[in-house]
């Protein structure tokens, strides 16, 4: 029949979102770079003949592409590529784990504040506002100075300073979703408040939550690099992208690659997660128009 030409392709919302995501070339590039960074950090150290903490004082400051050390060696003769890969494990893990922690806190606070509103909501959201008054780096460093530095503390502290934005997003979503028919229906069924909050409302806010989570990873990687660079995060001899830059300033004149290599890795990772978040925002909710 002639009408067949007029029929449109039916797509599920998921397929439509996937198509929109694929059109966002920078987000695709971001996803690809993240994959390379993750695989490189996970598998790379097994393929390399050097150990990230092996000190070879005879081969200090070997420049990149000179001999066996592809990215050169640092002030103790350690292979920079090996440290970059091991540092990637630490920095990317912190990024992901801190994000998960921040999401859990943010979602719980946001859901309770948005669901109950009134005094509960006001108190919780004013708490969010109050924590946001502290410039993140000041708060993070003050807390880091009061605690024993290490992998776990650094991760927890980054999460502690990054959950507020999520709480705001979730609060706004839950507050508006709880008035919708499906929520009213759940009330009518006699579902418990907790069930409505976390089985009905939060899953319906998944699009902005996923976007916030992606951007949160970028933020966490950035924060890790700040605290570790300043010496209050991951402690040597363990490597992280941030603490590899720790001594780089001293050797800036003689060994600039020590500063350039980890910085490029951080920038690549953070940019990729930011673009990925941007693409997800376009794909999951075309109406969300945050600049």
């Amino acid at each position: 029949m002639a009408t067949a030409a007029l029929s449109t392709v039916q797509r599920t919302p998921g397929q439509a979102a996937w198509r929109r995501f694929c059109r966002h070339r920078l987000a695709l590039a971001g996803a690809a770079i993240i994959l390379v960074l993750v695989l490189g950090s996970a598998l790379g150290p097994h393929l390399l003949p050097f150990d990230d903490t092996y000190i070879d004082i005879m081969k200090r400051f070997a420049p990149p592409l000179s001999g066996a050390h592809i990215l050169g060696t640092d002030e103790l003769g350690r292979d920079v590529l090996a440290r970059l890969m091991m540092g990637g494990r630490v920095s990317l893990s912190i990024g992901i784990v801190a994000m998960v922690m921040a999401m859990v806190v943010g979602i719980v606070v946001g859901a309770f504040a948005g669901f109950y509103g009134g005094a509960v909501g006001a108190v919780l959201m004013r708490l969010v506002d109050a924590v946001l008054c502290f410039p993140t780096i000041f708060l993070l460093l003050a807390l880091a100075a009061l605690t024993e530095p290490g992998l776990v503390t650094t991760t927890v502290l980054i999460a502690a300073t990054a959950w507020m934005a999520v709480a705001r997003v979730v609060e706004a979503q839950v507050r508006s979703l709880r008035e919708r028919e499906f929520a009213v229906a759940a009330f009518a069924f006699g579902s418990s408040n907790l069930r409505i909050m976390f089985r009905e409302l939060v899953p319906n806010a998944i699009a902005p939550i996923v976007v916030a989570a992606t951007l949160n990873v970028a933020k966490a990687i950035l924060l890790e690099s700040y605290v570790s660079y300043l010496g209050f995060g991951i402690q040597p001899p363990a490597a992280s992208w941030g603490n590899m830059l720790n001594n780089a300033q001293i050797y800036l004149t003689s060994a600039p690659w020590l500063a350039i290599v980890p910085g490029v890795a951080i920038t690549l990772a953070v940019t990729s997660f930011n673009f990925l978040g941007d693409g997800l925002r376009d794909a999951l909710d075309p109406r969300m128009n945050i600049p």
Binding site: C133, F138, L252, I260, G263, T267, V270
Partner: protein
């Protein structure tokens, strides 16, 4: 208007109370609490510590201690530095000028450059310039500030030798040109993130404005395009930027800390890190509270100023 200001003021005071409670809680998180300075030295016996605890009133219930501490904060008694016994507030104020100088310069650069990029991007939407600006802004927001500082030092100080690698002035010089020469690099580094933010917000604000009816009316009247864009477009697009300035303030302050570290700039951020290094908790806490209060006042001022220039806000 008076009601709006009173309302916002009440909110700000409530926030200040919560902020101070958080600050107080962090202070008591310190190993050994506020007494850590004595506990660390190891020269005091347990009896001495107990006596000092009683003298300083640290054996009282926490809420009472908090009220006492908060009262002293309000009176301007923020304690004394462990390092040299100087009052915390005077230590902070002696470093504040350098930080404000850096922040103001960076803001001026960011506002001018960011607005220009944003407006041009909005007027030529999806052009090559707009696309480059959007991608560039995203990358600028992703570069760690301190690393950008290192790269700047490497390029402009080490390789080209154009700019000094740090400090606020050459010792023994200190003329205006010398100060300016030292200011360029750190201000540029701090301005990068700010410019990106301003550009993005300005672009979306301008886009919103140029699609309004009154712009079309102005065009229909035959008003010259430059006049439409400046008098009607830019003026209205700039209004929400007041809020952006308020929102950006914490980031700007945090960025200043990092830039100061890289460029050994003798400001508040540098002082903060040095104090952390010396375990000088009163100064660390003082700067933390001071910066939070500055942010609070900044956002309060932004809200009030916005209500002054845009009467629609006062009702809400």
């Amino acid at each position: 208007m008076a009601r709006y200001v009173a309302n916002r003021l009440a909110q700000a005071i409530m926030l200040l109370v919560i902020v101070s409670a958080i600050g107080f809680a962090i202070l008591h998180l310190a190993p050994g609490g506020p007494l850590s300075q004595f506990a660390v030295s190891g020269q005091m016996t347990q009896e001495d510590l107990d006596r000092v605890t009683r003298q300083l009133g640290l054996d009282r219930p926490l809420p009472i201690q908090y009220l006492d501490w908060f009262g002293r904060m309000l009176k301007g008694d923020w304690g004394k530095s462990y390092r040299d016994g100087e009052a915390v507030l005077s230590v902070i104020s002696s470093h504040l000028g350098a930080t404000l100088e850096l922040m103001a310069t960076a803001t001026i650069i960011a506002v001018l450059l960011g607005c220009w990029i944003g407006v041009l991007g909005a007027l030529r939407r999806y052009s090559v310039f707009d696309t480059l600006a959007t991608v560039g802004a995203m990358i600028a927001l992703s570069i760690p500030t301190f690393w950008f500082g290192l790269v700047t030092i490497y390029v402009f100080s080490v390789k080209l030798g154009w700019l000094p690698a740090g400090n606020r002035q050459t010792i023994g010089d200190g003329s205006f040109l010398d100060l300016l020469h030292h200011l360029i690099a750190p201000a540029m580094v701090l301005a990068l993130v700010e410019t990106a933010m301003w550009g993005r917000f300005m672009r979306s604000s301008m886009l919103e404005v140029i699609n309004q009816d009154y712009i079309r009316t102005a065009r229909a009247k035959g008003m010259p395009e430059w006049r439409i864009l400046t008098v009607h477009g830019l003026r209205n697009a700039l209004l929400p930027m007041i809020t952006v300035a308020g929102l950006q303030f914490p980031t700007l302050l945090g960025g200043a800390l990092v830039a100061e570290t890289v460029f050994t700039w003798p400001g508040m951020g540098r002082l903060f890190l040095d104090s952390i290094g010396y375990r000088d908790y009163p100064v660390v806490m003082g700067i933390l509270m001071f910066s939070a209060t500055m942010v609070l006042i900044g956002s309060l001022l932004a809200d009030i100023l916005y209500a002054v220039v845009d009467p629609r806000i006062r009702v809400g």
